[in-house]
């Protein structure tokens, strides 16, 4: 298994999805409430997590900065497309985050009552697509997995979503499709440039990065095409409008997977593809991206503050938090970029947990309006305690996971963008304001809505879903060393490589320019000699 470990990880959930569809004992007749299907899906996702933990994380060499567990099989040989997988320090914890969240999401599926089997199958296909996106090192393979993430999410929001689900899901898909199709043209352009320069047709990322050269104009346009696709996914202000709609309408599991993993794919795309391929284009765009990120931080926080719907509040807080990740990465030094990756994982944990908590409330009361709640702390103490922990983790209190990432980001970014970072700091304060206001309004005071007097506390299954998240919040908050140790060396060497490529491209262009100048002087100097 070890030589095909990554393939096993990717396709195990897909196999589960297929089995869910074809095996007779999951049919509606023998499995009316979908309980067998739920336990089966839980088994599959847990198995995937256990494999990724034991085989991937424990055997991962943190000092090696190159991709590991590589698999390389020719796929479309005529076009130099291969099935090329690998994992490095940048992607390993994102993979772990994905496999870790999936069993929790399956546990949370107890609030789904109709077409349970199809819901679980879509979740499993989504897991396959997400893992494939994180592990693919061939640009075309990446694109296929990237697009494969669309269809399952489209169904999850569209079938099990809320009142405006159709609007939300179409908006989500159309936004994403526009961006990613333009990226496809850019990918093809890069590959043909590579073929013209080297004579070899390949979609392998490492060859494209090390051998292709672009002029500045090309880099700007190509980076813009990639940045549009990834920026929509993150989402970076002003491309964020699909996100609140999608979050609010999605079922709980859908929101968790959206906030937990899908949004990270955008930034992951910047890290893995856009920056290494077009370092100078990226350099040129960095201040603007940073500015948009900071606008997103403050705007997201202000809008979150004004929300009356808990889920919408958490959704806008996502826009705000992802702004930090983007800011940290585009500041582009080892500290801030490491912080950015750590923060991606933290955001997956804490926002995922907050969406689960909102789901718990919604299951019981079928409303998400803040005004419908109040004084819950006395009625549901365990729930209130969990809510407090994840709220604090979300506003980055020291000793919780959120602090580690945000601190590294702000520390690193200040060096590059001092003013923007100062502005971003105000987002930290605003974050505390709106989250604590939310907590105060829902948990403290008297129970003023009669129905809340009969509210039940979290049950065993919900507790089982929150327990691992709870542990991770404090593990990363108190002892983040293993996490940072695995990420930092890769990030350091990654930044060095991108900078080197940037300098090489610059040198090549100057060389070309000077030779052109020399040529233009040649006739006159020859004339002078006569």
């Amino acid at each position: 298994m070890s030589e095909h470990l990554l393939s096993v990880l990717i396709f195990l959930p897909l196999l589960g999805a297929v089995l869910l569809y074809i095996l007779p004992f999951f049919s509606a007749k023998s499995d009316g409430h979908g309980d067998i299907a739920r336990w089966f899906a839980f088994g599959i996702t847990t198995l995937t997590f256990v494999i990724s933990l034991l085989k991937l994380l424990f055997e991962f060499d943190g000092t090696n900065v190159n991709p590991q567990f590589i698999e390389d099989i020719p796929w479309i040989a005529q076009y130099g497309i291969s099935y090329n997988l690998g994992v490095d320090g940048i992607s390993i914890y994102l993979v772990l985050l994905t496999t870790f969240l999936m069993p929790i999401i399956v546990l949370a599926s107890h609030s789904v009552h109709s077409r349970v089997r199809a819901y679980l199958a879509n979740m499993l296909v989504l897991e396959t697509a997400m893992l494939g996106t994180l592990l693919a090192l061939d640009v075309f393979l990446f694109y296929v997995f990237w697009e494969l993430m669309l269809a399952p999410m489209y169904f999850i929001i569209g079938i099990w979503g809320g009142r405006r689900k159709i609007y939300a899901t179409l908006k989500f898909v159309l936004y994403t499709v526009v961006g990613s199709l333009l990226m496809l043209v850019a990918i093809i352009y890069v590959v043909w440039q590579h073929q013209q320069q080297t004579g070899e047709l390949t979609f392998l990322l490492s060859s494209l990065v090390s051998n292709t050269t672009f002029t500045m104009t090309e880099e700007l346009w190509l980076f813009a095409a990639f940045a549009l696709a990834f920026g929509i996914k993150v989402p970076i202000f002003p491309f964020h409008t699909w996100l609140p709609d999608a979050h609010v309408e999605a079922p709980t599991g859908g929101s968790v997977v959206l906030a937990g993993v899908l949004l990270k794919m955008g930034l992951y795309g910047f890290i893995r593809f856009a920056y290494p391929l077009f370092p100078r284009g990226a350099e040129e765009f960095a201040p603007y991206l940073a500015a948009l990120a900071v606008i997103g931080i403050i705007y997201g926080a202000l809008v979150a503050w004004a929300q009356e719907d808990i889920k919408k509040l958490v959704a806008y807080s996502s826009v705000s938090h992802l702004g930090y990740c983007v800011l940290g990465f585009v500041a582009f030094n080892t500290i801030s970029a490491t912080g950015s990756i750590v923060q991606m994982i933290n955001h997956g944990i804490s926002t995922g947990a907050l969406f689960l908590l909102v789901g718990v409330l919604y299951d019981r009361r079928h409303t998400r309006a803040i005004s419908e709640y109040g004084g819950l702390a006395s009625q549901v103490p365990v729930f209130a305690f969990l809510f407090l922990v994840f709220t604090l983790s979300s506003i980055a209190l020291p000793l919780t996971n959120g602090f580690v990432g945000e601190f590294l980001i702000l520390l690193g970014s200040f060096e590059r963008f001092p003013l923007l970072t100062l502005a971003a700091l105000s987002g930290v304060i605003l974050g505390a304001v709106y989250m604590l206001t939310l907590y105060m309004r829902t948990m403290f005071g008297e129970i003023d809505v009669e129905k809340n007097g009969k509210l039940k506390d979290v049950n065993a299954i919900e507790l089982a879903a929150f327990a691992p998240l709870f542990v991770v919040v404090f593990w990363i908050g108190i002892y983040p060393k293993p996490l940072i140790d695995a990420i930092e060396p890769t990030v350091a060497s990654y930044i060095e490589q991108v900078d080197q490529r940037s300098q090489r491209l610059l040198a090549l262009e100057e060389q070309a320019l000077s030779s052109r100048i020399a040529l233009s002087y040649l006739p006159s100097s020859a004339a002078g000699g006569q």
Partner: protein
């Protein structure tokens, strides 16, 4: 090239002969039997027999690069073999559809229907493998005449008769344009043979020549329903029986595309500079108009008609590209196969859904698809796959790969702007394809309203399963089809470059097949 001898040449057209015999036999049996009989199955058998013969010839490597037969009137090269295989496969599927659903289509005369279907297939094959322009025209007319009748074969349905008349009038008009163009070309060069035309036209530059090329192109563009020659398509597609619509969108379109390729790459490649400009504009207009109007359709059948216009536009993108060096030819052939699988499947679903309310004018409205996922999960799942495929979104992988091949050939040839317009169009099209999925999956059944459950027969279920497998498998393993498409295009455009390849292929052991008869 005609050293083959009469007998061998007849062997090479044996699929056509079997089809002709079948067409006559179906008619005769129908006349003498005077009662209902499974004509569909018989037609199916004839098609399978023709398929078997053509495959036998194909595997025996009798379709050599650049080979022409009957005094150079027909090509018997790999492109012909490709067309034969594709058309016969698609026809078999259409016959199966007709066999199960002809009653709901209100077609009474089953014998004539099947006989005409076979004749249309014969015409399509001749159209796509003609080595000379008059033969090409004859193929076109054989195909079209039979098709006009088929469009009107639902005698009691007014829309069907209307579509037949519309198609006939406009079709004759466009054929006349084409014929005029052929006459001018003959006047300029004294020949109508395709490669000879190219040789004589080399370096020629005259206004008459450009008018001639333009006139011939109009005839072709009408058949592939390119804008601005598309006005017939939506009405005819919607009015004709759905089995025939499926047939038009796949076989007829593919046949016209292949014949067009033979003309532009075989007869007038030297004048490429003059027609690629027009093609660029037409491709952009075709994609955009097709997609934009499709957005507003309420009838799924009509929406698929406009989408088929848009797909013709995508293929026209790759027609401006060098067929061999930049992969334009292989891209188009791959796209044809992928599009055939997806749209055949989609029309089959429309047929089944519409058959729940036979004869009602709004039987194929998008609202009829509401909550199909609950009444017919299999039908809905396959339709969702075809829609995603047409939009180019995985898991509809064949559609994604088809677009990838087309746009990568365009980028390679320097048409980056065209590729960008193409992908933006593709994004527009995602909206109306996804709307069908919205209806099938996201809209809950209203109250206790009784939903008619459409009948799904074994044959149609089989077709849908095969098309679905095709849509996924062709995309996951695209190399086999794409590689063979590459060789196929080369065998027509640049036959001499292939001789070594064929020699190498011949060296491999394969079942012996001796053509010399006792």
């Amino acid at each position: 090239m005609s050293q083959l001898g009469m007998i061998n040449e007849i062997w090479l057209v044996s699929p056509l002969l079997i089809l002709t015999a079948g067409a006559v036999a179906v008619l005769l049996i129908d006349v003498f039997l005077q009662r209902a009989w499974p004509g569909g199955l018989f037609t199916g058998f004839v098609l399978v027999a023709a398929m078997y013969t053509s495959n036998y010839l194909f595997l025996g490597e009798k379709f050599l690069p650049g080979q022409r037969i009957f005094h150079n009137l027909l090509y018997a090269d790999r492109l012909s073999a490709f067309a034969l295989g594709l058309f016969l496969c698609a026809s078999i599927f259409v016959v199966l559809l007709a066999h199960e659903k002809l009653k709901q289509e209100k077609v009474e005369a089953a014998g004539e229907y099947y006989s005409l279907l076979l004749m249309t297939t014969i015409g399509a094959i001749i159209f796509a493998s003609a080595g000379e322009l008059i033969t090409m025209f004859l193929g076109l007319e054989t195909m079209s005449m039979a098709l006009y009748c088929l469009c009107g074969s639902a005698l009691t349905v007014r829309a069907s008769s209307e579509s037949a008349l519309k198609y006939f009038l406009l079709g004759s008009f466009s054929s006349a344009f084409m014929l005029y163009g052929i006459a001018l070309l003959y006047g300029l060069t004294g020949t109508t043979l395709i490669p000879e035309l190219a040789a004589k036209l080399a370096g020629m530059d005259s206004t008459v020549l450009y008018i001639a090329i333009g006139l011939v192109l109009i005839g072709f563009l009408f058949k592939i329903s390119a804008v601005p020659f598309h006005f017939w398509a939506p009405d005819v597609y919607q009015g004709a029986p759905t089995t025939i619509t499926a047939y038009m969108a796949t076989v007829i379109k593919a046949s016209a595309v292949i014949a067009l390729l033979r003309f532009i790459w075989g007869a007038v490649p030297g004048q490429a500079a003059s027609w690629t400009g027009a093609m660029w504009t037409l491709a952009v207009i075709t994609m955009t108009v097709g997609n934009l109007i499709a957005l507003r359709q309420r009838s799924v059948k009509r929406m698929l008609a406009y989408s088929s216009i848009a797909h013709a536009g995508y293929m026209m993108v790759a027609m401006q590209v060098d067929p061999v060096l930049q992969g334009g030819g292989a891209a188009i052939l791959y796209y044809l196969v992928a599009y055939t699988a997806m749209s055949l499947g989609a029309f089959a679903v429309v047929l089944v859904v519409a058959s729940a309310n036979p004869g009602e004018p709004d039987a194929d409205e998008i609202t009829r698809f509401n909550a199909l996922a609950q009444s017919r999960p299999f039908l809905a799942a396959t339709m969702a796959l075809f829609m995603l495929g047409l939009a180019g979104i995985p898991p509809g992988m064949a559609g994604l790969l088809g677009k990838f091949y087309i746009f990568s050939s365009a980028v390679q040839a320097g048409f980056v702007g065209l590729a960008i317009i193409g992908v933006l169009n593709s994004a527009i099209s995602a909206y109306y394809y996804l709307r069908v999925i919205v209806a099938m999956y996201f809209i809950e059944p209203q109250g206790d309203e009784v939903v008619e459950k459409p009948e799904l027969g074994v044959g149609i279920a089989g077709i849908l399963a095969l098309c679905s497998i095709g849509v996924v498998a062709l995309g996951v393993f695209p190399s086999a089809l794409h590689d063979s498409a590459r060789v196929t295009v080369q065998s027509f455009v640049n036959p001499t470059s292939l001789e070594i390849t064929v020699e190498q292929m011949k060296a491999q052991p394969r079942p012996e097949f001796n053509l010399s008869l006792p």
